[in-house]
C-alpha cells in the first residue's frame, strides 16, 4: 500500500465503527475511535488502539461536531478520518476542512459531496449523462402554485423532495393534485428545519416499484467498477430493513443496463471511493435514477459476501492513493445473500425505537452466517442514536437456500430486555409474497398489521 497515512480516526460509532477498526487492524493501521461520552465503553473503543472522547452524548455535540473531530485527529496524531455512514460522512464542508487540515478524508472529494448532496443538481447531471430520470421539475420550485402546475403537467401521483434532504427525510407523496400544495408546504417546512437549503422539487411517484442499487468503487485515476446490485425493497418509513443480492426484480439484460448506468453515474460526477447509485425499477422493468449515496452503506456486507471483496478495506486503500485492486473482470457474484437489520424497535408500536438494557444477547453463528454487531450482554440502548443492533447476513447457493438458512439463524438469535424486530423478520421470511419475490416498496403498507405482524393475503 502506498500509504500516505499510517493511522485512522474512526469518526463514527456502533457496528460500523467496529467494522472500520477491524479493517484498520487487518492493514496494520493504527486505529483511534472518536466517541461520545455515552460510548466510552463501546466495543469499537475496546478494539481500537486508542480512543478520544469528542463530546457529550447528543450527536450534534459529538459525532456531528466537525471541529471536535479535527481536534481529535490532532490529539491522536491520525492522518486520516473514516466517517462511516450517517453523521459527517456526506458533509462537503467537513471533507473540505479535513483537506485543509492535511487529513485524508476516506470518501469522495468535497466537490462530489456537494453535487450528490443536492438531489436536484445530481438529477440534472444524471440526465445530461444519459441516465433515465423521472419526469419532474427542472429547477427548484418557487412556491406551492408552481408545484401544482408541474404536478399537473406530469400527471398522476407525484413525490415532493427537499433538494438537500437525506436519510429518507424531507419527502412527501401527493396521490392527487389536491394534495400537492399541502405536501409542498410540509416538505419546505421540514427542509427549513433540517436541511442545508429549503429548495423543493417534484418528480413522478412510481407506485409499484422496487429499490435496486448499484455498488460502485472508483479510484483517483478514473477507474470505476461495479460490485453488483442490492435489492432493498423491504422498507419501513423509507428505512431499509432487508437487503439482498441478486435482485429478483431484474433480468440479466436489465442487470447489465443497471450496472452500466451505475458506472456512468460514477464517471459523470468524477466519483472516487465506495459509493452507491440508487434506482427505482417499476413493474414493467423501467429503470429510473434516484440518488447517489456517497459513502459506505449499512448494507455493504451483502456485496462483500456475494463478491468476496472487502469494500471497507478497499475504501481505505483507495484513500491512501492505491489503484483499484480489482478489475471488472475479476468481480463475480456467487450464490444469494440476504441481510436482515436487527433493530431495537417495536413493530407493534409503530416501529418506535426502543431503549433500555439488553439482558442476554446471543447472535447466531455457523457456516454461511455473518453478524456485524456492537451489542452484547448488558448492552445499553440509549436514546441518542439509531436503533441498529446487528446486521445478520446469510449466504446460500440460491434464494431458497438463503431463506432457509436465514430462518434458522433468526430462530437462533436471542435478545432479551429490549424490544426488537426479530419476530417481524421471522414472519417475513415465511411470507408468501416475499418468498415468491413479488414484494414492492409498499409491502408493509399492504401486508403489515397494526400489531407489527404480517397478513398473508390482502383484505379486500
Amino acid at each position: 500500500m502506498s500509504a500516505t497515512f499510517d493511522s485512522v480516526l474512526v469518526a463514527n460509532r456502533g457496528e460500523i465503527a467496529v467494522r472500520i477498526v477491524r479493517a484498520c487492524r487487518e492493514f496494520g493501521l493504527r486505529s483511534v475511535v472518536a466517541h461520545s461520552a455515552a460510548d466510552a465503553g463501546s466495543q469499537a473503543v475496546a478494539l481500537a488502539d486508542a480512543a478520544v472522547c469528542v463530546g457529550p452524548p447528543p450527536a450534534r455535540d459529538s459525532y456531528l461536531n466537525a471541529a471536535a473531530m479535527l481536534y481529535a485527529c490532532a490529539r491522536a496524531d491520525t492522518g486520516a478520518i473514516h466517517p462511516g455512514y450517517g453523521f459527517l460522512s456526506e458533509d462537503a464542508y467537513f471533507a473540505e476542512a479535513c483537506a485543509q487540515a492535511g487529513i485524508t478524508f476516506i470518501g469522495p472529494p468535497p466537490a462530489v459531496l456537494r453535487l450528490t448532496g443536492d438531489k436536484l443538481a445530481a438529477r440534472r447531471r444524471m440526465a445530461e449523462a444519459g441516465l433515465p430520470v423521472l419526469p419532474g421539475s427542472d429547477g427548484p420550485l418557487t412556491d406551492a402554485r408552481e408545484a401544482y402546475a408541474v404536478a399537473a403537467r406530469i400527471g398522476g401521483p407525484v413525490i415532493l423532495k427537499a433538494a438537500t434532504g437525506g436519510g429518507g427525510g424531507g419527502i412527501r407523496v401527493a396521490h392527487e393534485l389536491g394534495e400537492v400544495e399541502a405536501a409542498f408546504t410540509a416538505v419546505q417546512r421540514d427542509a427549513r428545519r433540517t436541511c442545508l437549503t429549503d429548495e423543493v422539487f417534484v418528480e413522478r411517484f412510481v407506485k409499484h416499484a422496487r429499490h435496486v442499487e448499484v455498488q460502485v468503487m472508483a479510484d483517483r485515476w478514473g477507474r470505476v467498477v461495479h460490485v453488483g446490485e442490492r435489492d432493498c425493497t423491504i422498507q419501513r418509513r423509507r428505512q431499509k430493513l432487508v437487503e439482498e443480492t441478486p435482485s429478483l426484480a431484474i433480468s440479466p439484460e436489465l442487470r447489465e443496463r443497471l450496472c452500466d448506468f451505475g458506472l456512468a453515474a460514477a464517471s459523470a460526477v468524477g466519483y472516487q471511493s465506495a459509493g452507491t447509485v440508487e434506482f427505482l425499477v417499476d413493474h414493467r422493468g423501467e429503470l429510473s435514477f434516484c440518488e447517489i449515496n456517497p459513502r459506505i452503506q449499512v448494507e455493504h456486507c451483502v456485496s462483500e459476501q456475494a463478491f468476496g471483496v472487502d469494500l471497507v478495506g478497499t475504501m481505505i486503500r483507495l484513500a491512501a492513493g492505491d489503484q483499484l485492486p480489482f478489475a471488472q473482470a475479476d468481480l463475480h457474484s456467487t450464490g444469494h445473500v440476504i441481510e436482515c437489520r436487527i433493530n431495537a424497535e417495536d413493530p407493534a408500536r409503530g416501529w418506535a425505537a426502543a431503549t433500555g438494557r439488553i439482558g442476554e444477547f446471543h447472535p447466531p453463528a455457523g457456516a454461511h452466517v455473518r453478524v456485524d454487531t456492537h451489542a452484547h450482554d448488558g448492552f445499553v440502548v440509549g436514546p441518542h442514536y439509531d436503533s441498529l443492533l446487528a446486521k445478520l447476513v446469510v449466504t446460500g447457493a440460491d434464494r431458497p437456500e438463503a431463506l432457509r438458512r436465514m430462518r434458522v439463524a433468526l430462530d437462533e438469535f436471542h435478545c432479551t430486555g429490549v424490544a426488537t424486530n426479530l419476530a417481524f423478520h421471522r414472519k417475513l421470511m415465511d411470507h408468501p409474497v416475499f418468498c415468491a419475490g413479488e414484494h414492492q416498496l409498499d409491502f408493509l403498507e399492504r401486508f403489515g398489521t397494526d400489531d407489527g405482524g404480517l397478513r398473508e393475503k390482502l383484505v379486500v
Partner: protein
C-alpha cells in the same frame, strides 16, 4: 462461638441499614435506567420509599414523604468531603493562562470559589472558560499548558477548603 441466634438488630440501626441499602440500590437502579423509556420507578426497602422520576436525558431521584428519612447523626457514617475534579467542557487546547504574559489562573494550594475560572479550553479560536462548580483548594493540575484535551478529561482537582 455460642451457637445462639444473632440478636435482632436495634431499630435505629435497621433504619440506617435500610437507608444505606436503598441508596445503593437506587444508584444501581439509576445506572440501569439510563436510556430506558420508563418514566417513574419506586423502590421500597424496609421503611424507606424512594421515588425516581425520569425525564428524557435527566434523572432526578427524590426520597419519599412517608416515612420521613431517619435523621440519626450518630448512626450516619462519616462521609469525607469528596475531592472535586473539574473536567474539560469540550475537546480543545488547554491553557492555564488567559494570556501568555499573565500568571496562571490557579496554582496548587490556591483557594477556589464557586464559579471561579480555573482554566481555558480553546477550540476554533474560541476561548472557553473552565469554571469550578464547587469551592475548594487546588490539589493538582492534570493537563499541561497547550495540551489537546478530550471532552470530560480531568483538568484540575480540588480538595476541601
Amino acid at each position: 462461638m455460642s451457637g445462639a441466634h444473632p440478636p435482632p438488630p436495634p431499630p435505629n440501626r435497621a433504619n440506617a441499614v435500610d437507608v444505606e441499602t436503598a441508596a445503593r440500590l437506587a444508584s444501581e437502579l439509576v445506572d440501569r435506567l439510563e436510556g430506558s423509556t420508563a418514566s417513574h420507578v419506586e423502590l421500597v426497602v424496609g421503611d424507606v420509599r424512594l421515588a425516581v422520576e425520569l425525564t428524557p436525558g435527566v434523572l432526578a431521584a427524590s426520597l419519599g414523604q412517608a416515612p420521613p428519612p431517619p435523621v440519626d447523626v450518630a448512626a450516619s457514617p462519616e462521609i469525607p468531603e469528596p475531592a472535586v475534579v473539574v473536567t474539560a467542557p469540550l475537546i480543545g487546547t488547554f491553557y492555564r493562562r488567559r494570556d501568555p504574559t499573565e500568571d496562571p489562573l490557579v496554582e496548587v494550594g490556591d483557594l477556589v470559589e464557586v464559579g471561579q475560572v480555573v482554566a481555558i479550553v480553546e477550540a476554533m479560536k474560541m476561548m472557553n472558560d473552565v469554571i469550578a462548580e464547587a469551592a475548594g483548594t487546588v490539589s493538582a493540575i492534570h493537563a499541561y499548558d497547550g495540551e489537546l484535551v478530550e471532552f470530560d478529561q480531568p483538568l484540575v482537582s480540588m480538595g476541601p477548603r
